[in-house]
């Protein structure tokens, strides 16, 4: 851990005033960056310099900065979240880069995610997919004791593997078809695995996949780019499970 060594980097960043602006790349220099800076802290430093110079800082979505809220969303050198295994942008640290590097920074690009400004996109389409059926229709109160229905550990664990999705949309940004199959497959699978979700499983998979299409997401052609981009390591087997659920639902 050498605290004294600093890096200078060239950033090529997508700037776009609003949804109607065509947008373009601008070049900036990041100075005095240490290996302990997170990627977003590096951008904070660049923004401070821009403000001192009276220019508009680069806007980007971020909130928890600990890899769980799913708000941060940048394509770095062509890879959603920067390409480090199971890592969101906010958890990416500058020790992965070296002095003199040139870094390209772009927003999520997908038909279903219109750009709002610079690196910020509108991901409300993901909310619409959940609203279409990503829940169990239980009422507040009036439910059974938590231990009334036993759930074997392997089942609970697999449901949890699917439930880890943070809804960032990296799977969509990484997919050449702009598909939300991994996102939707994860929620469909979580609830189809658990006994509490089984009653509505058929209806759920039909309405959620329908919402997916209506929102303008593409389809899956087995590139597996989604799994590579996913900061939570959600497995493509959940897409296969969704497809099975979908097929079963046709006969339900």
């Amino acid at each position: 851990m050498s605290d004294h060594k600093t890096m200078t980097l060239t950033l090529i960043v997508w700037r776009q005033k609003n949804a109607n602006d065509p947008g373009k790349f601008e070049t900036y220099t990041a100075k005095n960056i240490t290996e302990h800076h997170s990627f977003l802290e590096m951008l904070d430093c660049v923004n401070e310099d821009l403000i001192y110079a009276g220019k508009d800082p680069i806007v980007f979505d971020h909130d928890c900065r600990e890899g769980i809220c799913g708000m941060c969303s940048q394509v770095i050198n062509g890879a959603p979240h920067g390409g480090q295994d199971r890592t969101t942008v906010c958890q990416l640290h500058m020790r992965k880069f070296k002095d003199g590097d040139t870094i390209y920074i772009e927003p999520w690009r997908a038909r279903a995610f219109p750009i709002i400004r610079d690196l910020i996109v509108d991901r409300s389409a993901l909310d619409k997919i959940i609203q279409a059926g990503g829940y169990t229709s239980c009422h507040t109160g009036g439910v059974a004791d938590g231990n009334a229905i036993l759930i074997p550990k392997p089942v609970a664990d697999e449901a949890m593997d699917a439930a880890e999705c943070v809804g960032c949309g990296a799977c969509v940004a990484g997919c050449p078809n702009g598909a939300a199959m991994l996102f939707t497959g994860a929620k469909v699978s979580q609830l189809a695995l658990l006994p509490q979700g089984k009653a509505e499983a058929a209806e759920r998979v039909k309405s959620m996949t329908n919402a997916m299409i209506e929102c303008g997401f593409g389809n899956c052609t087995n590139h597996y780019e989604c799994m590579a981009a996913c900061p939570k390591g959600i497995n493509v087997k959940f897409i296969a499970r969704m497809n099975r659920e979908f097929l079963k639902a046709q006969f339900a």
Partner: protein, 637 residues
């Protein structure tokens, strides 16, 4: 003025049931005539909006993020408490109630805490029904773990992401209501004012963060579930967007702010690496189940590789000082103990601000695989941030601001002193006293949202006629004009310092002089320096861009301006409270290093009333009575 919490009387175990029966009801057919605003969509707000929508009220929900699923409840790692007593280890509603009162250092209301303990079991059932994948054992039963401040295993968990799973449960319930049309969701909106007409809360003014437009929303009741304020310390474990703004605006419109000095410093966070740092990352307290906390006995060992320090040369100070609770001592005690060791020159890592959390013994006993299964994601996160492997060498930890026990004052119905304004979750002051126990924040958020507000708001709405004030009322226009004037002012100053610089400065003053330990002198220093800094802010801040567009600097300017006012109130509250209790430690009041409470003079809730800019706030007191738990010195030895 003496405040009345309107708590029900009689045997404590019957209070909530009796109160629920006594509350007036709104006829099912009339519910849709009432508009309810819910600000914030974390555990408290999300659960409230979903449950109120399901009951039939017309709900409008607001959040500043791009989706209601992102609220900072999502970051809670360790778990949620409930008095299920599944492990048969002696738990009960009474014990959870007792532990919470004692853990809060006898500064919370008994009736509120009893209710929390009583509904805790319903929460687990509710979440299971929603499809929250809690940890299970091989027989299929729900699994439990231990947490600080308790001697029973009552914490339910979903790996190291319990908050995420519970929030996604509430978000799914909310999504269902959005689809059903009972809840209208407004995302990327920040509440910048509470609208009060003739002393009654009637709506809010929000800024649309995408377009910059000011929008008004009127309602028959407003629920704030807007979280805590520890970003006043600049570096904290809160998300970047967490602020005191919504609560502070409500305070300036008349809502009392209770116990702002009760702030929780979490003992196990990853130490700060440099001054560019934007936030601190928490490592779940559950790690203390299997990790042992230590520092070198000898100062000269601090620079050594920890694995080279002999067993005899290590000071397992929590086990030494608190043998019965050991590494699971409550948060405030564990944090202060860490600070003491570091102040004594035995801290480790950069600047000597760190202690070790060591898993070597547990790995030897249980194997690395078991530890990985329990805390794998935390070890991964630690390595991403520090580039160190926690399985191979002890983690370095240091306390960081994490949670605010203080908040807007509410009565037993969660209603503030402004009729029609309800406050839920971390935003209110109600159940944690001066210190919150681990795994109790999730419990409170969901208790307030699912099982308290659906009853108590009905009791209020049944007494008012729906739709009395509309958004075209003059007060709404005035509110927009005021907010706009403030925004224009930020943009017009064009000074030399950025918003971040001011936030770092005020946060630094707060951490230095009003952090883990406070003195009369340090607080008086802040009460001089903060107003000066505030004055400088209004002359020298630089915000670029305009108000009619997405402008993150402008958003931060508003939040910082509010912190610059609120921080002064926090210090004032800390200065007036001449005792040490829970998260409020005044160095003058201690007994051999332990907090010295003063029950004769300070056994009350201190609620502050805003009196106008530049005027001293007025303190109102609500005396606390302990009929069920004996008011005693809090000992974990």
């Amino acid at each position: 003025m003496i405040l009345d919490g309107k708590c029900p009387t009689g045997p404590i175990e019957q209070t909530w049931d009796k109160h629920r029966f006594d509350l007036k009801l709104v006829n099912p057919a009339n519910k849709r005539k009432y508009n309810v605003i819910v600000v914030g969509t974390g555990l408290a707000g999300g659960a409230a909006a979903a449950s109120l929508g399901e009951l039939g009220y017309n709900v409008q929900a607001f959040c500043y993020q791009d989706s209601p699923r992102r609220a900072h409840s999502i970051a809670a790692q360790g778990g949620i408490n409930a008095a299920k007593n599944y492990p048969n280890d002696g738990d009960s509603i009474y014990r959870l109630f007792y532990d919470t009162i004692k853990g809060g250092d006898f500064r919370a209301r008994e009736a509120d805490v009893w209710r929390l303990a009583q509904v805790s079991n319903n929460i687990i059932d509710q979440c299971v029904a929603q499809g929250v994948p809690f940890a299970r054992d091989y027989a299929g039963y729900l699994d439990n773990r231990s947490f600080g401040g308790a001697q029973v295993s009552r914490t339910f968990f979903a790996r190291g992401q319990t908050g995420q799973q519970l929030l996604l449960g509430a978000y799914s319930a909310l999504s269902r209501q959005i689809k059903a049309g009972t809840v209208k969701m407004y995302d990327r909106r920040e509440m910048l004012d509470l609208v009060v007409v003739d002393g009654v809360a009637r709506g809010i003014t929000v800024r649309n963060l995408v377009t910059g437009a000011m929008e008004n929303y009127a309602a028959d009741a407003v629920c704030l579930a807007t979280g805590g304020y520890v970003n006043v310390f600049y570096l904290s474990t809160n998300a970047m967007g967490c602020s005191v703004t919504a609560n502070w605006k409500a305070h300036k419109k008349g809502a009392y702010f209770a116990n702002p000095c009760y702030t929780q410093i979490h003992p196990t966070c990853i130490p700060q690496a440099g001054d560019y740092q934007s936030k601190l990352t928490l490592m779940s307290e559950s790690l203390r189940n299997d990790g042992r906390v230590w520092v070198p006995k000898k100062k000269e060992d601090c620079g050594k590789h920890p694995n080279e320090i002999a067993e005899d040369d290590r000071d397992y100070y929590l086990e030494r000082k608190y043998p019965s609770y050991g590494n699971l001592a409550p948060r405030d005690i564990a944090s202060r103990a860490a600070k003491e060791q570091c102040d004594d020159g035995r801290g480790v890592g950069p600047g000597g601000r760190g202690v070790y959390l060591d898993f070597a013994d547990s790995i030897k006993r249980l194997g690395e695989d078991t530890i990985r299964e329990r805390y794998g994601n935390l070890f991964e996160m630690y390595e991403k941030i520090t580039d160190e492997n926690g399985y191979k060498r002890p983690m370095r930890m240091y306390p960081a601001p994490h949670y605010s026990m203080g908040g807007l004052w509410v009565d037993y119905n969660l209603m503030s002193n402004i009729p029609g304004l309800f406050v839920l979750g971390e935003a209110n002051f109600s159940v944690h006293g001066a210190n919150r126990l681990g795994a109790s924040a999730l419990m409170q958020g969901l208790a307030d949202g699912y099982f308290v507000i659906p009853y108590t708001i009905g009791g209020y709405l049944a007494t008012v006629k729906p739709g009395q004030v509309k958004a075209d009322h003059a007060e709404f226009k005035q509110s927009v004009d005021d907010v706009k004037a403030e925004q224009d002012k930020y943009l017009s100053i064009n000074g030399k310092k950025t918003v971040f610089e001011f936030m770092r400065e005020v946060g630094g003053l707060m951490w230095e002089n009003c952090g883990m330990a406070r003195t009369k002198e340090s607080l008086e220093t802040n009460l001089k320096k903060i107003p000066a800094l505030r004055e400088e802010f209004w002359k020298n801040v630089k915000v670029t861009g305009s108000g009619a567009e997405l402008n993150q600097q402008l958003e931060n300017a508003g939040r910082t301006a509010d912190f610059l006012e609120f921080s002064e109130l926090l210090c004032r509250d800390a200065l007036h409270r001449n005792e040490s209790c829970g998260g409020h430690f005044r160095s003058e009041y201690q007994d051999a290093g332990e907090a010295q409470r003063d029950d004769v003079n300070f056994c009350y809730v201190g609620a502050w009333e805003y009196k106008g800019a530049g005027k001293e706030p007025e303190l109102h007191k609500e005396p606390l009575k302990f009929d069920n738990v004996h008011l005693a010195v809090r000992s974990y030895k």
